[in-house]
Structures are given as structure tokens and as C-alpha cells.
């Protein structure tokens, strides 16, 4: 674990994101990748969860466009992305109109700064 190693899994995950790094967990006993970050593996009960850097690529498993009035910021995407490590997370796909995000689309993670708080979003894998 680089950087801040204080606190629980949730706090450590966020501290890494705030420094621009996206890490997930992998169980040292059963080898499953784990997301969201936990203190005990939900597959085998082991506490030996190690932080690993995911490849950062994955596929849109499902997607919705949340409708919002233009004066409040307009429509936006909410997607579930399945990382190539096999875990799924909620995120959004940037760089294309929300209604153009499709199930099966290959995407790549990036960490963005949202008012000082790091968060993972995705863009199309083939985007420049």
C-alpha cells in the first residue's frame, strides 16, 4: 500500500483516489478480486485482502441516462462497469453523449478530481 495506510478499507481506497490512484483489492487466500473495498473477503472470509492496481479496462454491463433539467446541468450517464478483473462498479462514461453509452462498450478508467475528492470515471477504450 502506497501513501496513506491509516483507517479502514473504505478510507484507504478514498485516500488513494484523492492522490490520483485507483486501487482495488484481491484476496490473498482465494484469489478473487474484491470491490467495493472491505475488511473481510466476501467470498471466503479471509482478512488477507491486498491492494492491487487493476488494468483499468472493462466493459459497460448496464447503463442509464438520468434525465435532469438543462438549468440543473442536463442529462447524465450512470453505468455499471465490469472491470477485466471481474468486479463491477457504478461509475459514468465521459466523452460521449449519455444516450450513446451502450452495454458492451469497452471502456478505460481514469481518476478525476471532483472538488478535491478523487473519483473513478470511464471513457471509451479507443478514445484519444
Amino acid at each position: 500500500m502506497q501513501g496513506n495506510d491509516k483507517g479502514g478499507a473504505e478510507a484507504r481506497y478514498q485516500a488513494q483516489l484523492n492522490e490520483g490512484r485507483f486501487l482495488i483489492q484481491r484476496c490473498s487466500d482465494c484469489n478473487h478480486h474484491v470491490f467495493f473495498p472491505r475488511v473481510v473477503c466476501p467470498h471466503c472470509g479471509s482478512a488477507a485482502l491486498a491492494w492491487v492496481e487493476p488494468k483499468g479496462t472493462g466493459v459497460v454491463y448496464s447503463t442509464t441516462t438520468v434525465r435532469r433539467k438543462p438549468d440543473l446541468g442536463g442529462d447524465y450517464d450512470v453505468s455499471l462497469v465490469e472491470l477485466d478483473e471481474g468486479v463491477r462498479m457504478m461509475s459514468r462514461v465521459d466523452g460521449v453523449p449519455p444516450t450513446d453509452v451502450k452495454i458492451g462498450m469497452r471502456v478505460r478508467a481514469k481518476v478525476v478530481d471532483d472538488k478535491g475528492v478523487g473519483m473513478v470515471v470511464f471513457t471509451a477504450e479507443d478514445a484519444k
Binding site: 467495493f36 448496464s62 441516462t65 434525465r67 447524465y76 450512470v78 455499471l80 457504478m90 458492451g104
Partner: protein
């Protein structure tokens, strides 16, 4: 002892509703109390006879205390488990166990919410809950929940199985047609498929008509042992079984977006009842969104996985169709005060008593009730109810 040993041992003997639609100036507790009074009187009992209590509320973590105080009861058995709107179906099994063991003699299951008209209503509560009950791995992406979670489920179901927006619209229109036969229903204007398809999107692929109502409403019912039930005012409706399954909290944690815990709760409930989907005369399922009805039909075994869209085509679950579903108009068109599980139980009881007037399912002797709770079909609780003929 197994679940099967409880088959038919407990009956629902009184039901009541209050404040459905809009209950201006009333509190959650006040309309709950009105519904409880109606249910107790329907059973021919008195409030002081209620020595068991099951209740929950979204705003209050210790809600059974509020209800005990408001009703003036001192229960020997209490269950305040909150698994979302499925709670008021899931309350049945602990109540059945307590009644069967003789720990108490009459259990009141009750709920009330004035989310539509209250000053501290749905919007305010949603904002407060983000702070009280954080969801740190979803909140940053601003899902508009619950619609967005069910939208993700619907989108995946459409992708995997070819389910269409027209299939979803069939569910909404069927619910509306039942509501038009129910004087208690809130939304009774005519509705057709094209209107649903052209309606304002909330969270794609769900339009406003694919989402349940936001209303006020209270519901209560009374459970007692079968031997005692026979001596009471109304014809008893027997609980053949109840089973609950809880698999996750958030849509991000669902293993397969197209399969709900009803797959498990339904299998256990039917096995204990000794009956199957083909024996059911109706389904009363929690339709928080149009996709819920399709998922329930599949997961409870009325059709195969992915076949729910085809099942509901051509008005199949509407009045006059091949299989009656949500005969009160459902959460989509009858009433939906946040947590709706007590209402589906009550509609099944009213149908099995033959009290449903224009919307009565003729000769109905069996019903399956399927509660849904949480933001993404997280908890499901299934009951098989029946008249004495099916015992």
C-alpha cells in the same frame, strides 16, 4: 420443525387501509392508527387484543416504539425489521413462529406514510438519508434512486432477453386497467401503450409511467392462529407459507441484474405450501417499477427467465387476460406510500374473501404475494395465501 409444519396454522383475519392517495395534514402515525383500527374492527377484535406488533418506517429507526405508544398497546412480541417495502410480507414468518409457539395470540402488522403531502416528505427524506445511511460507492455518480437502479436492471434485461419498452408499457397499462375497477386507487385516468412509450423519461428506459406512484397511505392486517380465526368475524385467509431472501443492498453488488431473490424465496414458499405457480389464481407482486412485475413472473416460475416480456403481451395480466396480476392497480396505479408490502397482502386477502366488486377474480382460492424491498430488488419475501378449500 420445518416451514412446512406451519402450513395453514396461521390466518389473516382482519385488514384495513387509510389515507390512501392524499392525507393532507395527517402524520404517518395518525393514518397508521386509522388503518390499524379498521383492521382490528374488521377482525371483530379490539386494539387491546393485539399482543404482537410488526411495523417499520423509513424515517424512524425505532418506529415500533412510536407505534406502541400511539396505539396504546403493550405487545409481548415485536418485530421492527426493515428490509424495505418487502418488510410487511417478511414480517409474516416471525409472527407465524411467535403465534404458533403461543408467545402471543394476535399480531398486528401495520404501516403508514404521508410522504406525498407531509412538509418533511420524500425529497427531504432522500437528502437526509444520504447523510444517515451513506452509499459511498454509488452516491458520487448521482444515481436517481430508486428509479436509476431499476433502470439499470431493465436495460440489462432488455439487452439479454430482447425485452422491449412496449413490454414494460404493457405492465403499466394492465395496472391502470385494474385501478379503473378499484374505487380506492389513486390513478384511474385512461392510459394506453403509446402514451407510456411517449412519456417523459425519468431514467432510461423507464418513463414516468414505468415508475410507481408517490402517494400517502396506511395499511394494517391482523394475524392469529387458525383455530381462533374460525371464531372471528370474517372468513379467514390462511397463510400456507412465507419465505424471505436477501441478497444485496445496491445494484452495483447484484451478481446478475436479471435475477432477483424471489427465485429463492418463491421456491421455498411454493415448496412449503405444497403448491406451484400453476395452482395460483392470482399474483399480487410489488411493482415499484414496471420491470418488477416481469422479474417476479419469471423468478416465481410463471414463465422462464427472459420470457416475462412475452408473458405480459396483449393484455395478458390485465382484467380479462389469462392471469390476474396486481388486481388493485398496484404500486403503479393504486397506491405507493414508500413501502407498499402490506397493501399487496391486503389485496390478496380481499380477493380471497370475495370482497373486490368489479375487479373480483371469480372463484379465487389461492394467491401468491411477492414483496420487493430496497433500491434494487434487494430483498424479496413470498407468501402463498389460500381459502380453507386449499388447506
Amino acid at each position: 420443525m420445518s416451514l412446512k409444519d406451519l402450513r395453514g396454522k396461521i390466518a389473516i383475519v382482519g385488514v384495513g387501509t387509510a389515507g390512501c392517495g392524499e392525507a393532507h395534514g395527517m402524520s404517518d402515525l395518525e393514518i397508521l392508527t386509522q388503518a390499524a383500527k379498521a383492521a382490528v374492527e374488521d377482525a371483530g377484535l379490539a386494539m387491546k387484543d393485539m399482543d404482537g406488533l410488526c411495523t417499520a418506517n423509513l424515517n424512524s429507526a425505532m418506529w415500533p416504539l412510536n407505534v406502541v405508544e400511539g396505539l396504546g398497546v403493550r405487545p409481548k412480541f415485536v418485530d421492527g425489521t426493515n428490509v424495505g417495502g418487502a418488510a410487511f410480507v417478511a414480517h409474516q414468518l416471525p409472527a407465524m413462529l411467535a403465534l404458533n409457539a403461543g408467545l402471543c395470540d394476535a399480531v398486528l402488522v401495520c404501516y403508514g406514510s404521508t410522504q406525498r403531502t407531509a412538509t418533511f416528505g420524500r425529497k427531504e427524506r432522500s437528502a437526509a438519508r444520504i447523510l444517515l445511511d451513506p452509499d459511498p460507492f454509488q452516491t458520487p455518480y448521482k444515481p436517481f434512486n430508486p428509479p436509476s437502479s431499476y433502470a439499470l436492471i431493465a436495460a440489462r434485461h432488455m439487452h439479454q432477453y430482447g425485452t422491449t419498452r412496449r413490454h414494460l408499457a404493457e405492465v403499466a397499462v394492465a395496472a391502470r386497467k385494474w385501478a379503473q375497477l378499484n374505487p380506492e386507487a389513486f390513478a384511474r385516468d385512461p392510459l394506453d401503450i403509446d402514451t407510456v412509450l411517449k412519456a417523459r423519461m425519468i431514467s432510461d428506459p423507464l418513463t414516468a409511467y414505468d415508475c410507481c406512484l408517490v402517494t400517502d397511505g396506511a395499511a394494517a392486517y391482523v394475524m392469529t392462529r387458525a383455530d381462533r380465526a374460525k371464531e372471528l368475524r370474517k372468513t379467514p385467509v390462511y397463510i400456507l407459507s412465507n419465505a424471505t431472501a436477501v441478497w444485496h443492498r445496491s445494484v452495483s453488488s447484484m451478481r446478475d441484474l436479471t435475477v432477483t431473490p424471489s427465485k429463492d424465496s418463491g421456491e421455498r414458499a411454493f415448496a412449503a405450501a405444497g403448491l406451484g405457480p400453476k395452482d395460483m389464481h392470482m399474483l399480487q407482486t410489488y411493482d415499484a417499477f414496471s420491470i418488477n412485475t416481469i422479474l417476479a413472473l419469471e423468478d416465481l416460475g410463471f414463465c422462464g427467465k427472459g420470457e416475462g416480456g412475452a408473458f405480459v403481451e396483449n393484455g395478458a395480466i390485465a382484467p380479462g387476460g389469462k392471469f390476474p396480476v396486481n388486481t388493485n392497480g398496484g404500486g403503479l396505479s393504486c397506491v405507493h406510500p414508500n413501502m407498499y408490502g402490506a397493501f399487496i397482502t391486503i389485496e390478496a386477502v380481499r380477493q380471497l374473501r370475495g370482497e373486490c366488486g368489479e375487479r373480483q377474480v371469480k372463484g379465487a382460492k389461492t394467491a401468491v404475494v411477492n414483496g420487493n424491498g430496497g433500491n434494487s430488488a434487494s430483498c424479496q419475501s413470498t407468501s402463498v395465501l389460500a381459502t380453507a378449500d386449499a388447506l
